[in-house]
């Protein structure tokens, strides 16, 4: 793991990259990283996340900035701008059931090819997917999902990269931290090694590539 300034870390993300971003309606999203992506004028990004939050909040800022080519999310109902851009053909949106999305990301991070879920069977979600029957019950095969970068919003980080999340800020964060080639973390507090008890670590240090300095 290396520590970098916010600007240095975001500079590593090229236009066109795929990004997994933590957060649920903006809660737990690494807001500083989002702001810097907008400031650096990134373009053609693919975002994989729970939702696109709302205009002015979290991933909503990337939508408004026109930084996204595509969003793979479970919900856009709270961001009218995403819906308008989608309908206007300015942005592609792939809707995935929330439980399926998080399992696909976990599969990508955990070396699994995919998972069988009953969610979506018999609905438009099954279009183009393989159906398998296990013990007489039908399941969809949903395949693993990975990204170039994971942008993780943590509560505590130590200088090795061990992370914890607070309350409902956890959501997608620990899962995306397993499923990207490069993991970039913004933490509310950076603490000395040993401050986080071993049993309380939610993301083990070796998963983290870059920790953004708090200055």
């Amino acid at each position: 793991m290396r520590t970098l300034t916010l600007e240095e870390a975001v500079t590593k993300i090229p236009d066109g990259a795929s990004l997994m971003i933590g957060g649920f309606m903006g809660v737990g999203t690494p807001e500083r990283i989002v702001d810097e992506l907008v400031r650096q004028g990134k373009r053609e990004l693919t975002v994989i996340a729970n939702d696109t939050a709302a205009p002015g909040v979290g991933i909503g800022k990337l939508v408004s900035a026109g930084a996204l080519r595509k969003a793979i999310v479970s919900h856009i109902g709270t961001n009218l701008e995403t819906q308008q851009r989608m309908i206007g053909g300015k942005m592609e949106v792939e809707l995935v059931p929330q439980g399926t999305l998080i399992e696909r990301i976990r599969a990508g991070g955990f070396g699994l090819g995919g998972i069988l879920t009953p969610t979506g069977v018999g609905t438009v979600v099954e279009t183009g997917k393989q159906k398998l029957t296990v013990n007489g019950k039908e399941f969809l095969l949903e395949i693993a999902l990975r990204a170039d970068f994971a942008l993780v919003g943590a509560f505590l980080a130590d200088y090795l990269g061990n992370l914890t999340y607070a309350l409902t800020g956890r959501n997608f964060n620990p899962v995306i931290a397993t499923a990207a080639d490069t993991v970039i973390v913004a933490a509310e507090h950076i603490v000395p090694v040993g401050v986080i008890a071993p049993d309380h670590v939610m993301t083990p240090a070796p998963l983290v590539d870059y920790l953004i300095t708090n200055t």
Partner: protein, 216 residues
């Protein structure tokens, strides 16, 4: 009593001691205000919280303690938090005893459509498909009609949320059960007749010899 209160109070009567319950956004949220005295239930919020308490007092909000709609909540003693994989493991794995959701349409077999109106409104399914597929009981909270048109229809014209039928539909007019596979009118609201319910419903309803009145 207004329509929303009738619906929320009636659904609250379905709560049992120790249940794990997920409430959707909108009318379902109101159910939490009517938990029967002496019954302790755990409310789960799919963004990663179990043991959700009432809205915090002014000045006591924390931006990392919210419901699935992003609104500040409190956490009761004994609450716990978890990531989204665990949250949906609880949902899909049948650990959530009951989920209460809104609906755009419910068909004669109890199948629900609640996540999009093609060409008009595409909010996305969020967690609804997992909830309807995985929760032990699925209860729909909705107004009986929309702009005068029945929402309980013979066949959903909107995209389905799940092929799994819901257990119960509660409206301001009636309680309809799908427990045995067919839509059955089991209760009417005070001052609402069976005939009025049938007139406001497109799907064919089975009407038992005795239809009771909602006990609110």
């Amino acid at each position: 009593m207004d329509a929303q209160t009738i619906i929320a109070r009636r659904i609250a009567l379905e709560l049992r001691e120790g249940m794990l319950v997920n409430l959707g956004i909108g009318i379902p949220t109101l159910v939490a205000n009517h938990v029967p005295e002496g019954v302790r239930v755990f409310f789960q919020s799919e963004n990663g919280l179990m043991g959700t308490g009432p809205a915090p007092e002014e000045g006591m909000q924390h931006r990392l303690l919210t419901d699935a709609g992003g609104r500040p909540v409190t956490a009761l003693p004994g609450a716990c938090t978890f990531d989204s994989a665990m949250s949906f493991g609880l949902i899909r794995g049948g650990h959530v005893d009951m989920t209460v959701l809104g609906a755009l349409q419910v068909d004669a077999q109890g199948r629900l459509a609640n996540w999009m109106i093609p060409g008009k409104m595409v909010p996305g399914m969020g967690g609804a498909m997992d909830l309807v597929t995985g929760a032990r009981r699925v209860v729909v909270a909705m107004q009986h009609t929309a702009k005068g048109k029945p929402k309980i229809v013979t066949r959903c014209t909107l995209p389905l949320t799940s092929v799994r039928p819901v257990s119960l539909v509660v409206t301001e007019m009636a309680v309809i059960s799908f427990a045995d596979g067919a839509a059955t009118l089991i209760e009417t609201a005070p001052d609402v007749s069976v005939e009025q319910v049938l007139a406001a419903t497109e799907a064919e309803l089975r009407v038992p010899s005795r239809v009771t009145q909602m006990q609110l």
